[in-house]
């Protein structure tokens, strides 16, 4: 019978393999396969034009919503703020971008102020009608009005997912509603 110390040594060659498996644990979000560059996104911002392509070398979390959204958008941005706090110093290399898809009610200033309510580093921009048409086509998402658009309380059907773009500008995964701040932070840390 092999002594326990010797048995431990016998497992040593397996360590790299075990480490590989540990590293390849799936991310919490839904991963894109194959990975490809994120679609173009160029929008009106309070301080000029926002271009997604300008955010290379940072991980970007992107959400399409609207400031009159009562439930899902503020819940998502609240979770982002918590995730940012969990990330600590590593959050410096992450941008959280809220894109309003409600040009009828939201302005660049309003979108920026809304995003900053949750965290002062959050970016808030708005798509105008023309940009919205391009956005829905390029990102393959649906945006539509719910209720009477002549009233001020109509809703907007909008993408439910948060898109995660890596430092090389590639669309890597999306997070479903309900992904916890801890899971968001964990994915951002592990994204290579």
């Amino acid at each position: 019978m092999m002594p326990s110390g010797r048995r431990g040594l016998a497992l040593l060659p397996l360590l790299p393999l075990l480490a590989t498996f540990a590293c390849e644990a799936p991310l919490h979000g839904n991963e894109y396969d194959p990975v490809s560059p994120a679609p173009t996104l160029e929008l009106t911002a309070a301080a000029g034009t926002f271009r997604l392509s300008d955010l290379r070398d940072t991980t970007v979390l992107l959400y399409f919503g609207y400031t009159h959204c009562p439930d899902v958008c503020p819940t998502t941005l609240t979770d982002w703020a918590k995730a940012r706090r969990i990330l600590g110093d590593r959050a410096a290399a992450v941008r959280f971008v809220f894109v309003s898809v409600d040009p009828a009610r939201d302005t660049p200033l309003l979108a920026r102020a809304y995003a900053r309510q949750f965290d002062s580093t959050f970016v808030g921009v708005v798509a105008n009608e023309e940009q919205l048409t391009r956005l829905t086509r390029d990102w393959g998402v649906a945006v539509f009005t719910q209720g009477d658009p002549r009233r001020d309380d109509y809703g907007i059907g909008h993408p439910s997912r948060t898109y995660v773009i890596d430092r090389r500008g590639r669309l890597r995964l999306n997070h479903s509603p309900g992904t916890t701040p801890e899971q968001i932070a964990d994915d951002v840390r592990r994204l290579r």
């Binding site: 400031t67 009159h68 959204c69 009562p70 439930d71 899902v72 503020p74 819940t75 941005l77 609240t78 309510q117 949750f118 998402v141 649906a142 719910q146 001020d152 309380d153 809703g155 059907g157 909008h158 993408p159 439910s160 997912r161 479903s176 509603p177 309900g178």
Partner: protein, 156 residues
């Protein structure tokens, strides 16, 4: 012969007493039932802070501690131009809100209003609400019950 039959005056007394007893029983039935404790209760009510003219959602637990089912038929708040019950639903990657006209609450059951699910939507806020504020919400049920709820406002 019985004592009643034998003594007419005594019989009259007994009949009167019987009539009084029947009358008392009948009156007992006609009286309204004694007041009971409310069977619908709301707890842990909160809303996110929001600007004047904006929108917010209210979340809480609605509990029916009685045995008789009731139905929430409308909601309102003096703070909001419009109020309604909605459910957030993820339909094939698109988030939508579905309006709920009435919401049954079975006896000994509860309904949880929570983020990403059922919530009360308040639109057209008449004033800004910030953390530490409180707003009032009323819930009307088909039974005629109205609940007045104090909602705590939190940071977004």
């Amino acid at each position: 012969m019985s004592a009643v039959c034998g003594d007419p005056s005594r019989a009259i007394v007994l009949l009167a007493a019987g009539a009084l007893a029947v009358g008392a029983l009948a009156c007992g039935r006609a009286e309204p039932p004694p007041p009971t404790a409310p069977t619908l209760v709301v707890r842990d009510a909160w809303a996110r802070s929001a600007d004047s003219g904006g929108t917010t959602a209210v979340y809480f637990v609605l509990e029916n501690i009685g045995t008789i089912a009731d139905t929430l038929r409308s909601v309102g708040s003096p703070l909001a131009t419009n109020a309604g019950v909605h459910v957030s639903m993820d339909r094939r990657g698109t988030m939508q809100m579905v309006s709920v006209r009435s919401l049954p609450v079975s006896g000994r059951d509860s309904v949880v209003f929570r983020p990403l699910a059922t919530h009360v939507m308040l639109t057209g806020l008449r004033a800004s609400i910030g953390a530490g504020d409180s707003l009032s919400l009323t819930l009307d049920f088909t039974s005629g019950t109205t609940l007045a709820v104090a909602v705590a406002v939190r940071q977004p």
